[in-house]
Subunit: 284 residues, 2 copies
Amino acid sequence: MPVTLEELALGSMPPLHQPIGVFDSGVGGLTVLKALRARLPGRDFVYLGDTARVPYGRKPREMVAGFAGGIARFLIDQGAQAVVIACNTASSAALPDLAQQLEVPVWGVIEPGVEAATRATRGGRVGVIGTRGTIASGAYQRRLEVRGFAVWAQACPMFVHVVEEGLAGAPEAEVLTRHYLEERPDLDALILGCTHYPLLKDVVARVVGSGVTLVDSAEATAEVVSSALADLPGRTGRVRHFVTGDVAAYEHTAQVIGGVDGEVLHLDVAELARFEARAGVSRG
Amino acid sequence: MPVTLEELALGSMPPLHQPIGVFDSGVGGLTVLKALRARLPGRDFVYLGDTARVPYGRKPREMVAGFAGGIARFLIDQGAQAVVIACNTASSAALPDLAQQLEVPVWGVIEPGVEAATRATRGGRVGVIGTRGTIASGAYQRRLEVRGFAVWAQACPMFVHVVEEGLAGAPEAEVLTRHYLEERPDLDALILGCTHYPLLKDVVARVVGSGVTLVDSAEATAEVVSSALADLPGRTGRVRHFVTGDVAAYEHTAQVIGGVDGEVLHLDVAELARFEARAGVSRG
């Protein structure tokens, strides 16, 4: 049931209470949202899926940073007390600049994943898998190498599609996982460096075996954020979703991540562009 | 450079001359457009990629038929003298009803593919690969079986993504092709029953071997349409693209199909919904 922002402003919808803003290029960030809600059940959340401009992975870094800035400001305008960039590509492109510009705390998914891998590895042999954009950016590799780890990185461009097609438990997932991981060296930890990949945890675990600890960046991020932000005891958290693409398509795809809970509203990208344009303007 | 339909109506853009309308849920239909332009170099074309509502494959049949009706009427409103449904799912959902409702000729991609397979097979052992929607609809299987052929059908849901990711020549394409085709029986013809699949012709040919004739439904459709519509000698055909999703994303993805030639205009799906609503109204 799309409503316009004007209707929202007119109060036809109940306002969220001190929500936490979470965004991704699509549905992948819902894994982070789910992990956050499990830890902060009393908090409200406002989620934005930029499905009209998905995928971010192959777009120029500056463009993605601009998108992220516009979205973060929109979420703050919607009342967000903190912003979680639940997308590896946008985290890599927009942090730490965005953290310096915004008046609320902002987290990405890369640092928490790296920290969790640092705790998980015993021999310092760490692998990371992600989209082509994330792997090409070297964001994980640089942070892991300065810790003295031997790092193996592999782009898995078909994994997002396997998840979005609902095929995470199907033979395609197994065939592609074996393909992408067949040339891995001896590892003791493997970072799932894309917010879609937690849904492939079972098949990846089967292929790499129990000697490799899988690091779920959605869980790692939720842990970091929830330890910094207090829950609101006695409340039952609500979620409002905004999507820039088709609402029905979003709801359909989101089913593979357990479905959406809460209303889904369409938001025109032009609206986000207005917030992006404000990026250079003082918000004092 | 998006322009509004009002600007178009105001004549800021030169009108196309007796164009042929072609549409698909996304970029796949560009293979059909390319095959048509090779045969009708003097004709203008107006192409619509419904990228805001892609994929059609898992949407209800009636919904897809409605989309197709709205798009066909929009293309006719843009001057189209004929309409080519360059999408298997939409062809299956909207024909023959749409052919009876429209005042211009309309073709789909299924009948031409079946006809071409009928000419190609020697022993009557015909295979067809397509999206889950196309294979589940049984549209190819029914038409082939009434001709007395032994039919093998296989859904290949990851193939569209392999093509759209620009991985048609990459190891992923080979791994998935072997997976999808490994349990095939002895065939002598194989229909590429999705407009994206002509881009996988090389890898499919390598896997099935030279004893299997590949039937390219894009080529087959272009042959049927071009034999029915005259070229306009002495003219150089132009193309105008409309997309319901993001223009830059469309242009990027279209690169894997040789890129787009001609202007690309954004069209809001709400505009198409207005044409869809007219479906029930007499157009006399």
